[in-house]
Symmetry: C2
Subunit: 348 residues, 2 copies
DNA sequence: ATAGCCGGGACATTATCCATCCCGTGGCCT
DNA sequence: AGGCCACGGGATGGATAATGTCCCGGCTAT
């Protein structure tokens, strides 16, 4: 703990060094087997630099090369695991977590090193951290409501495959959202349930229905029962997206996109679009968990990383409904910076 | 602890780096203020290397430069202190201590990093460690018997200046030994006593007396009383020297030197010369603590570092009278190596 | 006053690093 | 089964940084 800080004082370059090698190792692990050139392109590093690190890691036995490319050796995987805590220390993430949690009024914030925008393996790490957290929180009898999105889909893949000794039900937080099918809440819920050995219930509701049709459907006994089940969830796990990207991904009609622009929507979470003050400025017509229902949920976990999502996350989290926020360093630092800027303007 | 080992696996060069800077800092602290060139000469490093580290340390605020040379800043002193444990970890000294203690049948071995032969500050560190250990072991009412030697003289200088709240008596283990006065046991005893705020009794006996004259003197009531006091010591702290060097330092007559050579004397401790099996092959004629008296002493502490003293230390320690041995890494590793070699030959 | 050592700067030389290309090979697709 | 593509590893010339060495102005101690 303290020793690392001392080391950094006497030899600051070790930070860079360790991090470079950690990044290489992690990225190789992520898409192994991979070639040197592809890796260089992926990292945006000069090929020679990648090569140097590769050479070192290979000679250290942390990486093995065969004809098809490079892979992380078992020893490398162990090292990678052990490095995690060190990197966290280097980045001062524990302090960052504490400060962000306090400023956002959350129970806890989890921050993984890196920035999803710059390094896609970071997203995997977020998912991994989320999966780990989820796994430790889930109890028998729980109802878990989840949303869709790339991050959540990744969370499912990061969960350990367990036999269903716990009696858990996984449901989508809201109905189908017109996205790519493997990113839909239904799909994610099913995937998570499968990993957990849990049961799941799906909510198949078209997304582009009018308000009346929607309420009609919601009256349907079987649907209604399911909606009630969703609203009784003990844990809600949802992603956070930027308004812009989500609108694009859902193929939102032009008229609605204009509304979003006019109202300065920046963040999105399970179908609601928020402006930077956390006010709902638009909502997709769907059924299931509503924003106000979150107040009755015991544990609301939000996930989302990447510097570009910082403003979105601030918007969503300022609704005050979340308990836990899992993100990456890029988003976390950007959020703090924006909060500082606002505070500065506020007191001026 | 474990983190350091992980770091070394992923970035072995940090060991070198940290150690270089630590060495510079420690050496500067030792003879500050000192100039760049003098330091380079002292360390035997290229001037440019010293300069690079100096530049770094200065910019980090660990070192300050004025016209008269460089000094370690207060922050540097703190870092230096914190680095000690890290360096110990790097060198695996804890394991080294354990193994050596077991092989030598000692209660405990203390090893400081480095080699006194190559770096004179290491001797200071041995002295420092000895002083610290001594300070923690001394109790009220103790009688402490010490020998002479450069290391022991340094121990005195490393002791904290304390007011004499403890009732301690410091005595020389044996009579005057014809050495340089500030290295004599009497002088060392006085110096240690002064630092501890203790009382001391000195034993002024010429060194070159015949055996008969010596016994006559030993019969003298006041002398006898003092000798008895010495033999009742609870703690004995003695240095270890190579036979060759001690003979030279004491100006031993040629005839005796020949005896030492013929008998393969390698080690020396308070006037006794030992061959590598720990057998006494020669003894200076003096009075005070005899080898066999050590059996009745509660705590016998031997001190001595430097690779060149490894064989001497092995000889002295194989008498089995010592409880604690304080040394440096250079001597410790050399001793282990020699032990291994002997064991190898033994089983062959 | 002066001689010696101090830090800092300058500079040519050397070693290292880096981008880029090429080659033999193995797997994969056709 | 054969050709193609991407892989790792090696080689090379040019850029870049590190290095050894010297000198200078200033301060200190004598």
């Amino acid at each position: 703990m303290k020793q690392l800080q001392v080391l950094r004082k006497i030899a600051p370059e070790i930070g860079e060094l360790v991090e470079r090698r950690h990044t290489v190792l992690q990225n190789v692990l992520f898409v192994q087997p991979i070639g040197r050139r592809a890796l260089a392109a992926k990292l945006g590093w000069p090929e020679r630099m990648v090569r140097k690190e590769i050479d070192f890691l290979r000679e250290s036995g942390l990486l093995i090369c065969d004809a098809s490319g490079m892979e992380v050796s078992p020893a490398g995987v162990v090292i990678l695991e052990e490095l995690k805590e060190i990197i966290r220390e280097f980045h001062g993430l524990t302090d960052l977590e504490r400060e962000l949690a306090q400023r956002l009024g959350l129970k806890r914030v989890l921050v993984v090193p890196g920035d999803s925008d710059a390094d896609e393996t970071v997203k995997k790490e977020i998912a991994r951290a989320t999966a780990e957290f989820l796994h430790s929180e889930l109890r028998s009898g729980d109802i878990l409501a989840v949303t869709g999105g790339t991050t959540l889909a990744e969370v499912a893949r990061s969960l350990p495959t367990a036999q269903g000794e716990k009696d858990i039900t996984v449901v989508p937080a809201r109905g189908g959202l017109g996205e790519n099918v493997e990113l839909q809440a239904n799909t994610v819920a099913a995937a998570i349930a499968q990993r957990l050995g849990a049961t799941y219930r799906l909510l198949h509701v078209p997304d582009d229905l009018g308000e009346e049709a929607m309420s009609t459907i919601a009256m349907e006994p079987k649907i209604k029962e399911l909606i009630d089940l969703i609203r009784s969830a003990r844990i809600v796990l949802h992603g956070i997206g930027t308004a812009e990207e989500m609108a694009r991904r859902r193929g939102l009609p032009q008229e609605y996109v204009e509304i979003l622009a006019r109202e300065h929507a920046v963040g999105e979470a399970f179908g609601y679009y928020f402006n930077r003050d956390g006010r709902i400025v638009f909502a997709t017509s769907s059924v299931g968990m509503r924003l106000e229902d979150l107040a009755d949920v015991e544990l609301v976990v939000a996930v989302g990383g990447g510097k570009s999502k910082a403003e979105a996350a601030l918007a969503v989290l300022s609704t005050g409904h979340q308990d836990i926020y899992i993100t990456d360093e890029g988003a976390a630092r950007e959020m703090l910076q924006r909060l500082d800027k606002r505070a500065g303007r506020g007191t001026r």
